[in-house]
């Protein structure tokens, strides 16, 4: 299997970021880790959007991934980060396989609201679970990676970033192929015309179901990485405004390329960080204006800037 140009670029960027992390300040390392984790969840939202579905409940899988890490360490004594992430993915895939049977039967606002409803059910359950810290959540155990204890502070942050980069690279490489595979194109075809898809002999239900479950798994990795990096989980991970942020970032980046959610998540995280610092009472307004400008001038997201440039050049 030969590497394509996009794949070489993705590997190059990941290696460059890994090298930069050796000299970058701790706050930037932490911010980048969170942005990558967020981008993974957004990637799931983008997968659904490519199939014509907008999920306002992707926080459900983000939260499941995070809580699996927290609970795996707390109740099962698992400390290996990779094992905790695998646990998160397994739990999430199990839940998504059940929910997917129902939600993939719906479209448009009904899908959006149903996905939101399930994430809010989890939020409600967690808020009422006093053993899990209720609204405060709880701390994640000190994790190890392949038997190595990263310690605390900068070293831990750096290793969390390297782990996030490696996982994000793996997911991005997979999704880059997925988007251009038969099932990836079938998702876009479903968005365009379900009748024709069925008359081609393709089961739209099966395609949407598989896509939904994979999107959930990807979101779960994002949640697990956030929990490992932040060292804490709480019910707001499943709150609808968090899911709304994922949709916001997906629109910001666009659905045209696998790199778009990463760029958008980084921009979003930085804009939010500086907006909070510059205008503590109006930062949401700043984010709103940014989104408005994107919708007005770049309806296909930031990534369309690159494709437009390429088109002009050709």
């Amino acid at each position: 299997m030969t590497l394509e140009k996009t794949e070489v670029s993705l590997i190059g960027v990941a290696v460059a970021l890994a090298l930069l992390s050796l000299v970058a300040p701790n706050w930037l390392i932490f911010t980048t880790t969170l942005a990558i984790s967020t981008a993974l969840v957004v990637m799931g939202v983008v997968m659904l959007m490519r199939a014509g579905l907008v999920s306002f409940g992707q926080g459900l899988f983000y939260c499941l991934g995070g809580y699996a890490v927290g609970l795996g360490g707390r109740f099962f004594g698992i400390t290996d980060a990779l094992l905790l992430i695998v646990l998160g993915v397994a739990v999430t895939v199990g839940v998504a396989m059940i929910l997917g049977l129902l939600v993939t039967r719906y479209r448009e606002i009904f899908f959006a609201m149903l996905s939101l409803a399930f994430s809010m059910i989890l939020y409600g359950v967690l808020v009422k679970s006093h053993g899990l810290g209720s609204t405060d959540g709880f701390g994640v155990v000190d994790w190890t990676i392949l038997g190595f204890l990263p310690g605390s502070g900068e070293s831990s942050s750096r290793i969390a970033l390297l782990m996030a980069l490696a996982l994000a690279l793996g997911v991005a490489l997979f999704l880059n192929r997925y988007f251009r595979s038969s099932i990836g194109l079938a998702c876009e075809a479903i968005r365009e015309n379900e009748v024709r898809v069925e008359y081609m002999g393709i089961s739209r239900k099966q395609v949407l179901y598989i896509n939904y479950v994979i999107a959930a798994a990807v979101g779960s990795i994002g949640g697990s990485l956030t929990a490992l990096a932040a060292g804490h989980v709480d019910p707001t991970m499943a709150y609808w405004t968090v899911s709304g942020e994922f949709v916001f970032i997906a629109i910001l980046g666009g659905t045209g390329h696998v790199a778009a959610p990463f760029i958008a998540a980084l921009i979003f995280t930085l804009v939010r960080t500086y907006a909070i610092e510059l205008a503590p009472n109006a930062w949401q307004m700043i984010l709103g204006i940014v989104l408005l400008l994107i919708i007005l001038f770049l309806p296909k997201g930031i990534w369309s800037l690159f494709t437009r440039k390429k088109r002009v050049a050709s």
Partner: protein
């Protein structure tokens, strides 16, 4: 010749409205059959029932000697029964080549493939072949939205033919196409059909097209088949002329009034 499609007592009611009633039709392999009738006569209802788009109220449908009533479009396509639409059903915001690539992947039963690109060399060659055959190769990399109506019709039919069907049902293939383009379009379609040895059933309003391309005609009126037979015989039938083709009746003699 082998019998390919047989409907017995096929009916569809919408409440008190009869859309189609007691349709008994047998079509043999290789036939090119035209379906004519005024608007609301039941032509599209008939095609929709046969292709699993609409459930029938009663009656049976057999394809290749096996019952197919109740089967959805996907299963019918896999059995070799496919269709095109009056309004082409395409992926408008995707390039033409992608429209064909996904159809070809489905035809290969590779629609769930996650890693290999959908555009394999074999599929691209097959897509180029059918694009050239349908005279729409110039739109290869265009979005479907950039295609004129006639080209969209041809792409819709091309996609329908990709799954190696045995029988193709065409719903008004020339509607919305200019007079000049109609014959070119139909010549292209019929040549592709002939090469594949397909059985064709097509709904058409243009009697010149019907006379030129079909050997047998089913004439529908008020949901029933009023005449079934060779094209010249059906078009010459007085009842068909009165209810379908709209030709004026021969004036009666004054004394007879």
């Amino acid at each position: 010749m082998t019998e390919i499609l047989k409907t017995t007592g096929l009916s569809r009611y919408f409440g008190a409205v009869t859309a189609a009633e007691d349709i008994n039709v047998t079509i043999t392999e290789g036939e090119i059959v035209g379906v004519i009738g005024a608007n609301g006569a039941g032509k599209t209802t008939f095609i929709n029932m046969v292709t699993g788009y609409l459930a029938s109220s009663s009656g049976t449908i057999e394809f290749g000697g096996k019952p197919i009533k109740g089967l959805g479009p996907r299963k019918l396509m896999r059995k070799g029964l496919t269709r095109s639409f009056q309004i082409p059903q395409l992926f408008l915001e995707l390039p033409v080549i992608d429209n064909l690539a996904i159809a070809l992947a489905a035809a290969d039963h590779q629609q769930f493939q996650m890693i290999r690109p959908v555009h394999t060399t074999k599929r691209l060659e097959a897509a180029e072949e059918i694009l050239a055959q349908m005279n729409i190769a110039q739109y290869r990399n265009e979005m479907v939205t950039a295609m004129p109506q006639g080209a969209r019709k041809l792409l819709d039919i091309a996609i329908a033919m990709l799954g190696s069907p045995r029988m193709l049902l065409l719903d008004e293939p020339t509607s919305g196409v200019s007079m000049e383009e109609k014959y070119t379009l139909m010549d292209t379609v019929m040549e592709a059909v002939r090469q594949r040895g397909l059985t064709v059933l097509f709904v058409e309003h243009d009697m010149e097209i019907v006379q030129r391309y079909v050997t047998r005609v089913l004439a529908f009126a008020s949901g029933i088949v009023i005449k079934d037979g060779p094209v010249d015989e059906v078009l010459a039938d007085e009842k068909v002329q009165e209810l379908v083709t709209g030709k004026p009746k021969t004036p009666k003699t004054e004394g007879g009034a």
